[in-house]
C-alpha cells in the first residue's frame, strides 16, 4: 500500500463491527421492505389468476422474469471472480472486497432461483424436477449447477466468517443478546487453534478452485437455455463466452456500487481506499472491453450476412422499435464506462459509483434485449392470434415482481451487513500485522 497508516487491531475491530441502522438505514430498509411486499402481492395475484396477469403470451412466452433471472445469475458470478480468481492469482488488495462480493453472489443466486419459480406456470410441481427430472434438459443442468454454486458460495462466505464470529462474541454488550446467540450458534466451535486455521485455509483453497468451473457452468448453462434452441438471435455458438464476459462486468459493477455505499455510510475510507477504486476501475474497463468484443462478434457477423431468419430481428434491434433499448445497453453498459474509466480521474470513487450504476442498469436492459425481441421473430409468421400476442411490454405485476426480487436481494445484503462485519476483521488485522512486521 502506498499510504501506510498503521492501525491497531483494537481500532480495526472497533471500525468494522456491525453497526445498528441509522435513520437513513431504517428508511432504506423500509423502502425495500415495501417494494418487496408489493412484489409479493403481485405474485399473489399471479398465483390466483395465473400467468395471464403478465403480458407474456404464446409467442413471447418468456419475458422479464427470465431476463431478470439471467441478470441475477450474471451478478452472482462476481463472487467467484473476487474471492476465487483473485485469491488464486494472489491479488492482495482483494481482502476488503471478498465478503462484499460473496454476499452479493449468495443473495443474487437465491433470487435467481426464486424468480425461476415465479416464472413457472405450476410452481407447486417444482418437485417434479427431482421426481421426473430428465438429465438431457438444460434446465436440469441449470438446477444442478446453480444449487452447487449456491452451496459453495455459502461456504466461501461462512468459513472466512468464523474467526470474525469469535471476535464478535467478545462484544456482547455492543451487539446485543439476540445477535450474540446467533453468533454462538454459528461459530462457537471455532476456537482459533492452529489446526482449525489450517483446515479452514485448506477448505477455502479447495472451494476456490472448485467454484471457478461451477461459476463458468452456471452462466454457460444459462446461456444454453437460449443457445440450444433454433431461434434467430439465440442460435449462437458465441453465447457461453458472451454471457460469462457480460456477467463478470455486471457483477463488478455491482461490487463497485456496494463498495462506494458501504464506504460512505460506514466511514470505511481507511479500509476501502481510493486505491481499491482505482484497481476495480481498471478491472471494469478490461471486462467492459471483453464484453464489447463479444458483442461485436454476436451482432456483426449475422448482420453482415443478414440471413432471412435473422433479418427482421436485427433490423428491429438496430433501427426498429427495440433500437433505443439496444443502443442504451451498449452505450451505457459498455462504451461510456470504457471511455470514462480509461482516465485516471474517472477511477475516483464518485465517478466509479456512477459508472457502476450505469453498468448494472445497462446489464439489466441488455438481458431484456437478449430474451424478448427474439421471441417476436418466429420462423412461421405470427397470424391467427389476438393483436396483444404480437408484442410485449411487461404488465405492472411483472414490474412489481421483478422490482420486489431486486429489493429482496438488496434486503438480504442489507441485513447481512447489519449482522456481520462486511469487511473481514480477522484478515484485515492479520494483514496489518504482516505489514507492520515487514516494515
Amino acid at each position: 500500500m502506498e499510504k501506510s497508516i498503521s492501525l491497531t487491531s483494537e481500532q480495526i475491530t472497533q471500525d468494522l463491527l456491525p453497526q445498528k441502522f441509522g435513520k437513513r438505514g431504517m428508511a432504506w430498509t423500509t423502502i425495500l421492505v415495501v417494494i418487496a411486499l408489493f412484489g409479493l402481492y403481485a405474485y399473489y395475484r399471479q398465483l390466483k389468476y395465473g400467468l395471464i396477469v403478465t403480458h407474456m403470451r404464446d409467442y413471447v412466452s418468456w419475458g422479464i422474469y427470465i431476463s431478470n433471472f439471467v441478470f441475477f445469475v450474471a451478478i452472482s458470478l462476481v463472487g467467484s471472480l473476487i474471492t476465487a480468481i483473485f485469491r488464486l492469482t494472489n491479488v492482495k488488495w482483494r481482502t476488503p472486497l471478498t465478503r462484499i462480493s460473496e454476499i452479493i453472489a449468495v443473495s443474487a443466486i437465491v433470487f435467481a432461483a426464486l424468480i425461476i419459480v415465479v416464472d413457472m406456470g405450476r410452481p407447486e410441481r417444482f418437485m417434479n424436477l427431482f421426481l421426473h427430472g430428465r438429465i438431457q434438459s438444460p434446465i436440469l443442468w441449470d438446477v444442478i449447477v446453480i444449487s452447487t454454486y449456491f452451496f459453495i458460495s455459502i461456504l466461501l462466505l461462512y468459513f472466512p466468517l468464523l474467526p470474525d464470529l469469535k471476535i464478535l462474541l467478545k462484544f456482547k454488550e455492543k451487539t446485543g443478546k439476540r445477535l450474540n446467540r446467533l453468533y454462538r450458534f454459528q461459530g462457537s466451535f471455532w476456537k482459533g487453534t492452529k489446526a482449525q486455521f489450517q483446515l479452514s485455509d485448506k477448505s477455502i483453497s479447495i472451494l476456490c478452485v472448485l467454484i471457478i468451473p461451477v461459476a463458468f457452468s452456471i452462466h454457460t448453462v444459462t446461456s444454453w437455455l437460449f443457445a440450444t434452441t433454433y431461434r434467430p438471435g439465440w442460435d449462437s455458438t458465441n453465447f457461453g463466452a458472451y454471457f460469462i464476459s457480460g456477467a463478470f462486468l455486471a457483477g463488478s459493477g455491482a461490487v463497485v456500487v456496494a463498495m462506494y455505499v458501504f464506504r460512505r455510510y460506514y466511514h470505511l475510507e481507511k479500509y476501502i481506499t481510493e486505491m481499491h477504486f482505482e484497481k476495480m476501475g481498471r478491472i471494469v474497463v478490461m471486462l467492459a472491453l471483453v464484453y464489447f468484443y463479444f458483442n461485436v462478434n454476436e451482432y456483426l457477423t449475422p448482420a453482415f450476412k443478414m440471413k432471412e431468419s435473422e433479418h427482421g430481428l436485427l433490423k428491429q434491434l438496430f433501427v426498429g422499435s427495440y433500437a433505443p433499448m439496444f443502443w442504451f445497453a451498449i452505450l451505457v453498459g459498455m462504451i461510456i464506462p470504457i471511455i470514462v474509466l480509461i482516465f485516471k480521474k474517472g477511477r475516483k470513487p464518485l465517478p466509479m459509483f456512477i459508472i457502476g450504476i450505469m453498468v448494472v442498469v445497462g446489464a439489466w436492459f441488455k438481458r431484456y434485449i437478449i430474451v424478448t425481441p427474439t421471441l417476436l421473430h418466429p420462423f412461421l409468421p405470427m397470424q391467427n392470434v389476438p393483436t396483444s400476442f404480437m408484442s410485449y411490454f411487461p404488465s405492472w405485476e411483472e414490474w412489481a415482481i421483478d422490482a420486489g426480487s431486486l429489493a429482496g436481494a438488496l434486503l438480504v445484503i442489507t441485513f447481512f451487513v447489519r449482522i456481520y462485519p462486511i469487511i473481514p476483521i480477522h484478515e484485515t488485522i492479520t494483514e496489518q500485522n504482516e505489514k507492520d512486521e515487514s516494515k
Binding site: R122, S137, I139, F379, N384
Partner: protein
Amino acid sequence: MNENNIKSRREFLAAGLLASAAIAGCSTSNNPFAPESDDIKPSGQMVKLLSVDGEIIEMDKAFLKPVPDLPAATNTQARRGIPGKKFVMVIDLSRCKNVRACQKACNHMHQVHPGQNWIKVLSMQESAHTAPYWQPTTCMHCDEPPCVKVCPVDATFKRQDGIVLIDSDRCIGCRFCMAACPYSTRVFNWEEPILTKEEEAQPYSCETSMPQKKGTVGKCDFCPDMSRKGELPHCVSACPNGVFMFGDMIQDSVTNGAETFRFSSLIKDKAGYRLLEDLGTMPSVYYLPPVNRNFPYESGLENKYKPDHIYEDAKKLSTKIN
C-alpha cells in the same frame, strides 16, 4: 316401411357393436350371453352377431348389454403409444381455401382457450414475386422433437407410434418447449380454462389432452384417442375439401375419409416436402405444394379470421364465470 327398415338396420349395427364390445370385455368363465337378471324376457327378436372366434351367432336382442365406451388408455399406455403404427399426415396445399373448419372442430373438441388455436391456417408467401397460398399448420410430431429434448420433467414425450404428446398433470409450465419449437405450435394456458364442472372433473388423459389445465402447455395431439377407435382426427374429418390426409406410414396409406392414397407414391408424385427441413427436426407432417389449385388464393380471403373478437368475447365470458 322403408324408413322402418333403415331404422332397424341401424339398430342392428349399433347392437352388434355393443355386443362385440361386451364379449370382448368379459372373461370366459362368465357366460356373456346369460341374462344379467331373470326379469329380462326374451323379446323373440333375434340378431346375428360375429363372435370373437369369427363365427356368426344368433341371439335374442333383449340379452344385448349396452357397454360404455372402451376404457380410456392409462397413462402408461398413452405414453407408450399404439404398437405397430407410425402415424403420418399429408396436407395438400392445393386444396386449402382457408375454410378453417379444421380449426373450429379442433378447438371445439379439445376445449382450446378462445383466441388460441392448435391449428393455424397461415397466409404464406415465400417472396414478393411468388404466389401466396394457405397453409394449415398442426404440430409436426417431429421424429427429432426439440420440445421433448428440452423438457426437464418428461411431461412432453415421443411415443413409439411417432406422436408427441403432453402430460398436463406433470407439466411444470416452464415453457422451454415453446421456446424450442421452431414451428411455434405450442400454446400455453395462461389462465383457468373455461370448462363446465363435468369437464373439469374428468381425469386428465394425454391422448385427448383434456381437460386442459391452467399453467400448462397444450398443442395438437394427432387425436390418438380417435386412432384407438379407428377413426380419423377431428381436423381431417371436418375439412370439407379433403386437405388433410392421415394414416400410417407402415401401412403406407393415408386417407382424408373420402379418398385413400399410397403414402409413398403420393409424396413422390406430388413432390411432397416438410417444413424447415434444414433444422433436422424430421417432421411427421408432409405438405403437397400448392399447384393446380382447386381454389384461387383470393377465395380464402373472405374467411378472414378475427382472433381479437374471439379473445375479447372470451375475456367477457371468463370474467362472468369468475
